[in-house]
Symmetry: C2
Subunit: 682 residues, 2 copies
């Protein structure tokens, strides 16, 4: 690729356009504004290869072949949401919007063509088409000396590829290159380029519960009351398809039988500090008011169960849907959406040859449909200067700033944790939601995991499971839900870091500081591990899965301490084996770790009580944590209306350990006015 | 599609070409000669729709959209080898040569674009490209009245498609249409059009055993001796990769360390009436003699473990490989091949953009590579007027006459049986080979199934399992292996029917006579059932899977009798529940069923003993069976050198039941000269 094609966009970010530009590409669909200032604050770094090392060739049938160098030790990450492993090299990925089918092959809920290399660079292919990525599994004949293996004992054929080959259909494409030097730097640059991480409203970090599909308003309110009576936290109630006057296909209008007074219903819940999120899919009933309007603007085919497929690339179409949603949902007090089914399960979506009024192909619209629908809803909330937080089953690259969390119907607990790790490498969020369980242990272990994720939710739409459905673990379930609530100041600050610095709040271990060239086995293992992850700056989460009494945990460099007791757990880099009790999800805090916590409460609403923070301090080294605060509800923080309080632990003038707090930014007054320091490590 | 495009090829078979013809299509690759006379003997039938009902439209990027009508009750079959179910409607299949990945999505070992409809027609898309078939899961907006579902109790949204939509890439394509009226008629026409079913050599129907990869000649001979000593039948020994001087990539030359005297080794086994089959894949070591010759005729990329990929579409290349194979293998006495790995596992094969000297695309070569390699080997054997029988992991449409049986590395016993059923709907053969087992029960159940399949094989290449590895079931394993041997005259006659009439020897229940419009639940269920099947004209096989003590069996119309006891099992159409003993695979024979059997023997070689047949007769109605015989080794049967003996059971002049035999065709003298009738039903 000729050097002249390369245009520097920001420090460490370059773009190169080959051939023609598409009317609709991934970045157009997401329509984000890069966070220029934050990008400029990052360290500069070159790409690990010259741009001439990238080869571009036009091949048959309107396709391009893009070839990048691949080195022997290189580990590749990214390429969207994956469930089996986080490293993607040595495989073929046909990036295609779809429900995950049990195999990491590119068909997934967020088939983002964003590749991250351990060599210290990332590449986004900004193209809304089906792209095939051969991640170091192809072998060009001329590039390889012949390798001969005999069938001897211990025989293990090894044959390393020297190239990454990518097939991109269409008349042209844009690549965006991100430099490192570390994998975290690459991911941060990408996230900041995509507008910075989303900052959910504070209530979004509380506990969510989705009620069964056919519940009436009365039944939902009873369920909410049961949470309160039993002392289980609850911030958001999610309504499933049955709230529609008809589904499927969906009308987006309230079922007046089940919800005779939506506004009153939502207000009564709001009085209890509980918000309402509603399920929808984009496949419109042709008999609904909206359906009649959208008919001429819909595709040649229908989607799930006969619903019209509105062409969301047309502004007028988005406006029609927004207008209806504003009046029927937002004006009634709905706080956000769960956007279902635009990923596919393949046979439920429109076929590739479906035609749409805008002239966009079925393929292009499929790749970005979930993104367009997310944006449509976000625009409404932004106009009201109101943050939202919700769920989506379909997304793609470019959506780092979208307050939508991915989920699906797959339901493997271990693979859900891999997905959580994998999401952090592509600017995505993932929730390992709990729905049901085979037994009490499984239930508790799943609830524990979801409480350490971007969205802590029980989705009981089909099974009607309650947090207390397994009485023998009911107390332990409540305990971890309450810990989640207490951690909101900590997690909210971590999300602020996502927005301001592009650091994922929940992230794969490879994003922690380490020396990749260190041959230490634990260091090498943490570059691929996907059954443990970081939550916020200093907590390492090592979920337990039902049926297991023990597990290993890789501790990165430095000392690590038990979250609950403050005791030393190990000195990394090392791998420890633990046998945790059923009631506790294993959590470890790094040396000098500071964890600000709310008192126990059932909602994330600001009250007098919640002004007082307990500040846990772990270890034996100096520590520092910046507690972020803002109004928790609006976008005013983007204009500087927020506060940062620096909590520090260190020796004072007399040589005694002392915790101090200091306002370091006061765009507003922080809610937190009292810090109760607690030395966890004795 | 305009009527003028339609050309009648044979009775009930039409072709229509749209746009340009490809240099390489599926039928060119298979290069078969239709069995004209057999086709002309079939009943005539029209297509169930007018050709104008098929719509063809050119769509973007060099693709065609083909649309066929789809009716409410229509069941669709075919589309290659499937593992989860035999009916394919309501899904999307992206037909793509690959290893089966756990989901029926079109990626499979034989992604044949041959669709069979219960409406009484079949369609082959004669195109070696990746074809996407939407089998009645798409919904054209204008074709559908809106359907509204409410979330009421028992809510079950139903939304039936009215079209089959198919995307075919390229400049043109040919479809071949086959009429019925029954599903069996469609399949028979297709099979006869593809040259008629293969007739294996008689020894091919005996028992096969593949020895561990690193065995030496000595170890193989010891293993063969162990079979004899212990009284287990053995007709073919299969050698795995370790016989090569190097693998991987493969040299096709003998390892002189392990096999110092290949010819002597093969002759010694031949003396024991055991043949040798050798494993290979098509990825050539560049350091072997053949590799050096083939280098300039290979693709831009290498295949599995760095092997060159010869362009098999070039005649000269095929000849080079044949010449080497003739001298190194056939001249040494090798009886046939196992052709591995040309299906892919995706990341092991060449990428789609790989270029080949012939100019064919990586995609086209991938779709037919297994077919071309099969044909290359078959040509050698045919030139010697010697039949072969072997295994392949990659095939496609058009190969009905190829004596190659599909297998893979997936290893789900129940799904292997579904594959066996599915294969019969596309002119393919499948073996549920046994490799290893979790316990004795699993071992016995797997061996029982494989003994009722086209190729009865223990593939111990990796695990080294012996038939007697589980002592507690060792006798029962031997018993079913011996039954397999005894059934060879019966199975050989069934294969003759495959050749002469196109009737699959092992087939899905839907291919048995039934009235599809009969609402009887058992009749409707047999149209989709895939855990039982027919072996030959009159035996119904209902395999048992480990862990199950009972199962249901659907009996088609008429009375059915227990194979072992002759007792009445039920009167179909009905569904019965059975609790068979561990030692017996459930087998049922239809009323009037006649089963000619050899005496127990360890090899399928002709001897004096094997001239005497035991003829089992079941039930209470007249019966008839034509025993086929020929030399068992050559292609002379194609010129009429075979014999047919009609065995009949009926009342004689005195009203007594009597079995009779009559020579009905005597192109040669049948080996069978004595028939010992045995009334099984008392």
């Amino acid at each position: 690729m000729d050097k002249s094609l390369l245009k520097q966009l920001f420090k460490g970010i370059w773009s190169a356009q080959t051939g023609m530009k598409d009317e609709m590409d991934l970045l157009t669909a997401a329509a984000n504004t890069p966070r220029r200032e934050a990008l400029e604050r990052m360290v500069d770094a070159p790409l690990p290869f010259s741009i001439e090392a990238i080869a571009v060739e036009q091949i048959k049938e309107n396709k391009y072949l893009l070839t990048l160098p691949h080195t022997h030790d290189e580990i590749l990450y990214g390429l969207g949401l994956n469930f089996k492993r986080i490293d993607v090299q040595g495989s073929v990925r046909h990036l295609h919007m779809d429900h995950f089918g049990g195999e990491d092959n590119g068909r997934t809920h967020a088939p983002a063509p964003f590749l991250v290399s351990s060599q210290g660079y990332g590449m986004l292919i900004n193209k809304a088409r089906y792209i095939s990525v051969y991640t170091g599994n192809t072998h060009r004949k001329e590039a390889h000396p012949p390798v001969i293996s005999r069938m001897d004992k211990g025989w293990q054929p090894v044959y390393k590829s020297r190239e990454i080959e990518i097939i991109i259909p269409g008349d042209g494409f844009e690549i965006i290159l991100f430099s490192g030097p570390t994998v975290l730097d690459v991911v941060r640059r990408y996230n900041l380029f995509c507008g910075g991480g989303c900052l959910p409203p504070k209530w979004g970090l509380g506990f969510w519960h989705r009620t069964p599909s056919s519940y009436t308003a009365e039944e939902v309110e009873e369920e909410a009351k049961a949470f309160e009576t039993r002392g289980f936290p609850l911030d958001v109630i999610g309504l499933e398809p049955g709230w529609h006057s008809c589904s499927y296909p969906t009308s987006y209008e309230w079922s007046r039988e089940r919800f005779p007074d939506p506004k009153g219903f939502i207000e009564r819940l709001a009085d209890k500090k509980i918000r309402v999120n509603v399920w929808e899919n984009p496949f419109v009933s042709p008999q609904s008011t909206l359906g009649r309007q959208l008919e001429p603007f819909s595709g040649t085919h229908t989607g799930s169960w006969g619903g019209l497929i509105p062409d969301l690339s047309i502004e007028n179409v988005r406006e029609m849907i927004q207008k209806q949603h504003e009046s029927e949902h937002l004006n009634q007090g709905v706080s956000g959406y769960k956007i279902d089914e635009c990923d596919g399960f393949d046979q439920w979506l429109w076929p590739d040859h479906a035609a749409f009024p805008s002239g966009l192909s079925g393929e292009t619209l499929r790749q970005v449909y979930g993104v367009l629908f997310q944006r449509l809803t976000l625009d409404m909330f932004r106009r009201r200067n109101m943050r939202t937080y919700g769920l989506t089953r379909a997304s793609n690259a470019g959506t780092t700033s979208f307050p939508y969390v991915l989920y699906n119907d797959y339901y493997s607990h271990p693979d859900f944790i891999t997905a959580l790790c994998s999401s952090s490498l592509c600017g995505l969020l993932w929730t390992p939601e709990a729905r049901s369980a085979s037994d009490a242990e499984d239930w508790l272990r799943r609830i524990q995991s979801v409480c350490f994720s971007p969205l802590a939710m029980l989705n009981a739409w089909a099974d009607g499971t309650k947090p207390w459905s397994f009485p023998e673990v009911s107390d332990a379930v409540r305990d971890v839900m309450l810990i989640r609530m207490q951690l909101i100041p900590y997690l909210y600050s971590a999300f602020a870091q996502y927005y301001f610095e592009g650091i994922p709040p929940f992230r794969a271990m490879v994003l922690e500081p380490h020396d990749a060239s260190d041959p230490n086995a634990s260091i090498q293992a943490l570059r691929r591990i996907s059954n443990q992850y970081m939550a916020g700056p200093c907590i390492l989460v090592a979920p337990m899965f039902a049926g297991k009494k023990e597990r290993t945990v890789i501790l990165p460099p430095g000392k690590w301490f038990d979250f609950y007791t403050g005791a030393l757990a190990g000195h990394g880099p090392t791998t420890i084996t633990i046998t945790p009790p059923l009631e506790r999800i294993p959590l470890f805090v790094c040396d000098g770790g500071i964890v600000p916590m709310w008192p126990e409460d059932l909602n994330a609403h600001e009250t007098e009580r919640l002004k007082h923070l307990e500040v846990r301090y772990y270890g034996t080294s100096d520590g520092c944590f910046e507690v972020y605060d803002d109004d928790g509800l609006t976008y005013d923080y983007e204009q500087g209306t927020y506060a940062l309080t620096r909590l520090k632990m260190g020796r004072n003038a007399e040589g005694k350990w002392q915790g101090t707090s200091e306002t370091v930014y006061d765009g507003m007054t922080s809610a937190y006015d009292y810090f109760n320091w607690r030395f966890m490590t004795k």
